[in-house]
């Protein structure tokens, strides 16, 4: 599969490059937006827009045929909706094998059969004498210990049968496997072969001989070994056809014993078949201690005996019912998307087919059900049944000789017995895998029941890789460390049972240990399953430690994360000893406020960010204490991205605390405003309207303490001014607060007069706040700046009816009608919608503590890509909120890292053309309303902005994306996200730690035509840059609290002022891109359309000059002069203007 995958990737990147190139060309085609939109409608099908369906009356109301009615009825009863039905049918078409390919595979199988039968026999030799094996082939088994009794000879198989999903027609693309069972002739086997791995040794030798002969044959493209389902004792032989069919199919050969060779009673889970003395290489000790049972070893032997009977069972159940087959195929896709089906102990397709068979036998599924219903019923069953507690069995005979379910529960964590009642199909499945399946099934059921969203897409088409599904990830490496861990955990019997596979032996106990330790912090712990490796027949089988790394995923419970205390039992209770033993030296006696003296563990964590990482402390502590795994072997990926939203000086916090301090200060101020005496009208509401007040400002403000000597002082207005001879002072952004005044008949009804009255209120507010609370205030016509405890707030007085008054228009007949005007919309947005959004998101933060981190990382990234000014702050906040309110198919993120990855995924995959992003704040939209919104959206698509975000408060206009981004910018953002996501995921999943986590935050600069380099001296937020400079300039702040009676310099950011000038002067010639967080470079992109020579017109002379072209006088941009203008306008700030391309030459 490896090479195929790589090829696909190559194709992918090449495609992206093309897209990018076209995006570059397209940038700045605003003028041609209309025409390009039309083209995209008619253009390539991939870019097509959904059109409202128009059917003629005759077509709509013609008499229905019987067939049509039947289909409609079927859709209604068997599927959720007709769309779902069509989707399922399409998906099945995609994953099914075509008849043509089936024929080719069948032909190949017939040839394989012939070749196997022609393999020559060998004379009988001792098992330990393997000299007869030819060079070029190695035994695909670790023969530890080597000495074993018994003889072996090769004879062609007594029978060759195809088993498994290929016969049933439930195998799915992309990897088609055909399982073939080779029944070894009885002459090869001897009595007692079940003992001490003798059977497995013979099986391996059988395969080795076969492999040697088949590899000589030109029919096969590759002949390799692999482990059956990852089990280290059971190799299988993989055959692939030669030539172009190489990737078509893999035939897997599984040798199996003749029927009834092993006595089933010898292989019960309580029996021992690997003698301790043999395994440890000692002489049998005669102390009569009972041999430990080897349930897994027994199961592996039993599995081989039952290959055919299982195939028969499945073909009788699934054989005739196409709905069941569809269902199994869908379930396989479902498992595959969740990475649950691979590796040792995975929830394989075979297991799920057996589960469907079980549900049929218990009448939970009927054979007439559709594939969708089978999927749904199976998920329902998985969600509601805990197989670790209540095992299930396909065996319905009441034979007393059969062991009870309870016996199996004792030997295995998960129990699902086959029809013989002796074989546990889930023997290798660990409890955490089972819980993970259950968790996924529950999520999927909730999704199917919610009805609002496109369930199909989220359920079956969205991949859930570990890094994006779990809040924290940790890698254990090198794996050889686990061998020592097994000894420390005293797992010798398990090792004996697993045939020395210490990774899978240690997996169960380790996960249980961590689950217990993480307790209330943990929602779910999942582990990666060791991958099934393939190797060449001339090589030794891979060692256990070669199976890569062990990766654990933690899904955290946000409520549990806030506590730093692990409360134990009271000191005199007997459990106290257990607690002490479990936590070791970290456990200490503590006296609590209620007088109780208890054992307790306290973790050091001051900030929210550190509290989120307590699981890291727990895991390293427990692994060291109980399993001897030092913290150097644990690579924990949970807070690696935190550095990007950390404040300038503090490294322990990701800013949640600083934001909370600012919000507290705001709360105080709002109380002061409420209690203000002497205002002519009372305050009716105080609402925050700034990102800080909804916890989404990337870098939270700190209290300002200006050093006066650094500034020019304007004493009479109590203000500080920047000085030209000093570096630019620190950037202080006032936090906007909207203060509504009560309505009254005294308000004038004229827009201009209202503005004057508001100005009077601003003045009065400043006066009163200074008089009554001694706050430094500065009033202007539109707002009052207030300095409180070092934070600066900008209070805007608002009058509720003002937007209404701005909307009023008088028609010629004298009727007053309301029409939206730009001014009224802006006012409405600033004084009503923005405060509402701010308080709603503030509430969201209280529910989901990770929201702040995710939203800030997302904004940080978008701005770092120089696209921050194209997308409004609010729109990005809403996208981040969507990750929490509509997390399907995941759960709401509990760490900024995973939230950010999902943000990138959402941005890169969301189809903005055909879908609005519905952000159901406070759950106010019902399912019907959402359907309605979608259909209205489709009908009015061309009139809506490129990116449409719908909230319960804003169902029609998509206020925050009204003015941007342009289609080109959005496309660019999607391309960037699609490129960043795999890079970042790869870095985070790298068990040896990322080289440089900031890679994806550095913008590519090669696409810009001109780069304007800025001098750090006049960039006030220089230190916030992605690559934070080692040293920057003094920004005129004191570290000690000083007198603060003068208003600091507010909102003075030279790069922003410069950009405003550039955009005003050259906005129709070029686009300007800048990272407001300490960017040192402005990227300039010429608009290709404005470089077309223009005819002479008084209105388009701006910045252009006349040239003669082909005898005609035309106007072209005066680029040389403009480049010099860049430097002139930014005198002092601009370091250099680099022209990098010659694209403007006309």
């Amino acid at each position: 599969m490896g090479p195929a995958h790589k090829g696909a990737q190559h194709r992918g990147t090449a495609g992206e490059l093309e897209v990018m190139a076209s995006a570059l060309e397209g940038t700045g085609k605003e003028g041609k937006k209309e025409s390009s939109k039309k083209r995209s409608v008619a253009g390539s099908p991939a870019e097509r827009l959904l059109q409202p369906v128009k059917l003629s009356r005759a077509e709509l109301y013609k008499e229905p045929t019987n067939e049509e009615l039947n289909r409609l009825r079927e859709t209604e009863s068997l599927f959720h909706s007709s769309l779902l039905r069509l989707q399922v049918e399409e998906l099945l078409k995609e994953v099914r094998l075509s008849e043509k390919k089936k024929e080719r595979i069948d032909a190949f199988l017939r040839k394989v059969n012939q070749r196997i039968m022609r393999v020559p026999s060998t004379p009988e030799t001792e098992l330990t004498n393997q000299a007869w094996l030819r060079d070029g082939v190695r035994v695909p088994l670790h023969q530890v210990p080597y000495t074993v009794k018994g003889c072996f000879r090769f004879l062609p198989p007594a029978q060759v049968t195809v088993v498994g999903s290929y016969l049933l027609g439930t195998c799915i693309r992309p990897d088609i496997n055909v399982d073939v069972a080779l029944t070894m002739p009885r002459e090869i086997l001897q009595d007692k072969d079940g003992l001490n791995q003798r059977y497995f040794r013979k099986r391996a030798l059988y395969l080795a001989h076969l492999a040697h002969h088949l590899s000589q044959d030109p029919l096969f493209g590759s002949v390799r070994f692999s482990y059956t389902n990852g089990c280290h004792l059971k190799p299988s032989l993989l055959l692939r056809p030669h030539g172009k069919d190489e990737r078509l199919v893999t035939v897997r050969l599984h040798p199996c014993p003749p029927p009834d060779f092993f006595r089933p009673c010898r292989l019960l889970p309580s029996k021992n078949n690997v003698r301790t003395a043999w395994y440890r290489g000692q002489s049998p000790s005669g102390d009569g201690s009972p041999e430990p049972p080897t349930p897994r070893y027994n199961t592996w032997v039993l599995q081989d005996t039952a290959l055919e009977s299982h195939a028969q069972l499945l073909s009788t159940v699934l054989g005739s019912a196409s709905g069941l087959k569809d269902g199994v195929a869908l379930l396989k896709v479902w498992l595959r998307q969740r990475e649950l089906d691979k590796g040792l102990g995975g929830f394989s397709g075979f297991l799920v087919s057996m589960l469907v068979a079980f549900l049929v036998s218990t009448h939970k599924i009927h054979t007439t059900m559709s594939g969708y219903q089978v999927l749904r019923s199976t998920l329902q069953f998985l969600a509601s049944t805990d197989l670790t507690v209540n095992g299930i069995s396909l065996c319905f005979s009441s034979d007393p000789s059969l062991p009870a379910l309870a016996d199996f529960h004792q030997a295995f964590p998960v129990v699902f017995l086959d029809s013989s009642g002796r074989l546990n199909l889930c023997a290798d499945v660990t409890a955490s895998t089972c819980h993970q399946v259950q968790h996924e099934a529950r999520l999927s059921m909730a999704l199917l029941d919610s009805k609002a969203d496109d369930g199909f897409q989220l359920l079956l088409m969205t991949p859930k890789p570990m890094i994006r599904a779990f809040d924290h990830i940790l890698h254990l490496r090198p794996l050889s460390r686990l061998q020592a861990a097994c000894h420390r955990l005293k797992l010798w019997p398990e090792l004996q049972d697993h045939g020395g596979d210490y990774v899978s032996a240690a997996l169960g106990p380790l996960t249980t240990l961590l689950e217990q330790g993480l307790g209330s912090r943990l929602h779910l712990l999942a582990h990666s399953r060791p991958p099934v490796s393939e190797w060449d027949i001339s090589q030794d089988p891979p060692k256990h430690r070669d199976s890569g790394v062990l990766t654990l995923g933690l899904l955290l419970r946000p409520e549990g994360l806030t506590s730093v205390l692990e409360l134990g039992p009271e000191a005199d209770q007997p459990e106290a000893a257990d607690f002490r033993q479990f936590w070791g030296s970290r456990s200490e006696l503590r006296r609590f406020q209620d007088g109780a003296i208890r054992e307790a563990v306290v973790w050091e964590a001051a900030s929210m960010a550190q509290k989120r990482l307590i699981p890291h402390q727990v895991v390293t502590h427990l692994l060291m204490l109980h399993a001897d795994i030092p913290d150097t072997c644990v690579h924990y990926t949970g807070g690696l991205l935190d550095a990007l939203i950390q404040g300038l000086k503090e490294t322990s916090s990701t800013g949640e605390e600083a934001l909370a301090a600012a919000v507290r200060c705001y709360d105080d101020l709002s109380r002061l405003l409420w209690g203000l005496e002497g205002l002519p009208l009372t305050v009716s509401a105080v609402q925050g309207a700034h990102p800080v007040l909804r916890y989404t400002e990337v870098f939270p403000p700190t209290a300002v303490r200006p050093a006066y000597s650094f500034y020019e002082q304007l004493r009479e207005r109590a203000s500080l001014l920047p000085r030209p001879d000093k570096p630019c002072p620190a950037y202080v952004e006032p936090m906007t607060v909207v203060c509504h005044l009560e309505g009254s008949g005294q308000w004038p009804q004229d827009a201009e007069a209202i503005r004057r009255v508001r100005a009077a209120f601003q003045l009065r507010l400043a006066e009163l706040l200074t008089q009554q609370h001694g706050l430094q205030c500065r009033a202007t016509a539109t707002h009052t700046d207030v300095l409180k405890d070092g934070f600066v707030f900008r209070i805007r007085v608002a009058y509720q009816r003002e937007p209404q008054i701005l909307r009023e228009m008088r028609s010629p007949e004298g009727i007053i009608s309301l029409r939206d005007t730009p001014a009224s919309l802006r006012l409405e947005r600033d004084t009503r919608q923005l405060p509402l959004l701010t308080s709603t998101l503030h509430g969201l933060q209280q529910q989901h503590p990770a929201f702040s981190g995710v939203a800030r990382l997302a904004k940080r990234w978008v701005r770092a890509q120089l696209l921050g000014e194209e997308l409004t702050d609010e729109s990005l906040d809403l996208v981040a909120a969507a990750l929490f309110l509509h997390p399907e198919p995941f759960t709401p993120p509990s760490s900024p890292q995973v939230g950010f990855l999902r943000f990138l995924f959402l941005i890169s995959t969301f189809d903005w053309k055909n879908n609005p992003l519905i952000v159901n704040l406070n759950n106010e939209l019902t399912a019907e309303e959402q359907v309605e919104i979608r259909s209205v959206f489709l009908a009015t698509r061309t009139k809506r902005p490129v990116m449409v975000i719908v909230t319960p408060q804003d169902r029609k206009s998509s206020v925050w994306t009204q003015d941007g981004p342009s289609p080109q910018i959005l496309h660019r953002l999607m391309v960037l996200a699609a490129e960043a996501l795999p890079v970042l995921e790869k870095q985070l999943m790298d068990p040896w730690g990322p080289v440089d986590i900031r890679t994806v935050f550095r913008p590519p600069l090669d696409m810009y035509d001109v780069l304007i380099r800025l001098s750090p001296r006049h960039i006030p937020r220089h230190r916030q840059a992605v690559d934070s400079p080692a040293a920057s300039f003094c920004r005129g702040l004191l570290s000690e609290p000083g007198p603060s009676s003068l208003m600091p310099v507010l909102g003075y950011d030279p790069p922003q002022l410069y950009l405003a000038q550039l955009r005003e002067a050259f906005g129709d010639l070029a686009l300007f891109f800048y990272d407001q967080h300490g960017g040192k470079v402005i990227g300039v992109l010429w608009k290709p359309t404005s470089f077309q020579p223009q005819p002479l017109k008084a209105s388009n002379t701006k910045g252009r000059m006349v040239v003669s072209q082909g005898g005609e006088l035309v106007m072209v941009p005066n680029v040389e002069a403009i480049l010099e203008d860049f430097a002139i306008l930014g005198e002092g700030l601009v370091q250099a203007v680099e022209a990098r391309s010659e694209r403007w030459t006309v």
Partner: protein, 280 residues
């Protein structure tokens, strides 16, 4: 690129500066240091017969493409060698009428960030226009004797200017409100006077203020009335009463399903085109 730039400049000096017909071009630079220059395109301000223009004929110079760093004072200084300048007005785009002379309040109307503008320069004598048209330049905006601030210095000055004076603001608000109140009082008095007084033909105007106020004449109010009527009618209607109504509802339902089916098919078509059905 630099080489190419030089070549173009050289070309210009050889051929003379090109300009649109009817205009003459004057190169303008920020200061001595700059290599290349922008071009002011100037001509005499003329309008067709019958069009009203408040700019004086013959004496007004119309200037296109004034760079953003060139202020009104600056333009006045640059053109004064041609003859005494009476006034200079910079505008976003050509506009025939002079802008309202009433000074805008500096508190309520923000000064816009300047881009490239057009200017109307009124000379005291028509001679000035002719002289300006013959000007060769290049004009320098910022010179040793009259430096023009740009960049950081300008932003700091703008910041200092933007710190408001509350007293002045208060005075302005008070005067405005006084006039406004006066105006409103007058209107009120007039309305009161007219109330209930029949006009020449005997009609009496009914207003909201009188003893028996009527519905306000707004669109919302009339819509509300219509809505109420509609609801009343809907209440009276009988649904699914006659057999044909039954039949029609059923047919309607089927039509809905068909429409939905078509929509879904289209959706699927689109998804297939986007390869949305490959789960790998």
């Amino acid at each position: 690129m630099v080489a190419r730039g030089r070549k173009r400049v050289a070309q210009d000096s050889e051929k003379g500066i090109l300009s649109p017909p009817g205009y003459s071009a004057i190169p303008i630079k920020f200061s001595e240091k700059q290599q290349s220059s922008h071009y002011l395109y100037v001509r005499e301000h003329k309008v067709r017969e019958g069009t009203k223009s408040s700019w004086p004929q013959k004496r007004t110079l119309f200037v296109l493409n004034v760079p953003p760093y060139c202020t009104e004072e600056c333009l006045s200084r640059l053109l004064s060698p041609c003859g005494p300048v009476q006034s200079v007005e910079l505008q976003e785009k050509p506009d025939l009428a002079e802008s309202a002379k009433e000074p805008k309040s500096k508190f309520f109307h923000r000064k816009p960030v300047p881009g490239f503008q057009v200017a109307y320069v009124v000379f005291q004598k028509p001679r000035g226009v002719a002289a300006a048209l013959a000007l060769k330049g290049p004009l320098l905006v910022s010179t040793e004797s009259h430096p023009v601030k740009s960049g950081v210095c300008k932003w700091i000055r703008d910041y200092a200017d933007s710190v408001p004076d509350p007293e002045a603001l208060r005075v302005e608000v008070d005067t405005f409100m006084e006039t406004y109140d006066q105006k409103m009082a007058e209107e009120e008095a007039k309305a009161k006077e007219e109330e209930g007084v029949p006009d020449e033909e005997g009609w009496v105007k009914v207003t909201r203020r009188g003893r028996r106020p009527v519905l306000p004449r707004t669109e919302a109010a009339s819509l509300r009335v219509l809505e109420r009527e509609k609801r009343k009618r809907a209440r009276k209607e009988l649904l699914n009463f006659y057999a044909w109504q039954h039949r029609e509802t059923k047919m309607e339902h089927l039509a809905q399903l068909r429409k939905k089916f078509q929509e879904d098919k289209q959706r699927i078509e689109l998804m297939r085109a986007q390869r949305k059905f490959r789960p790998y």
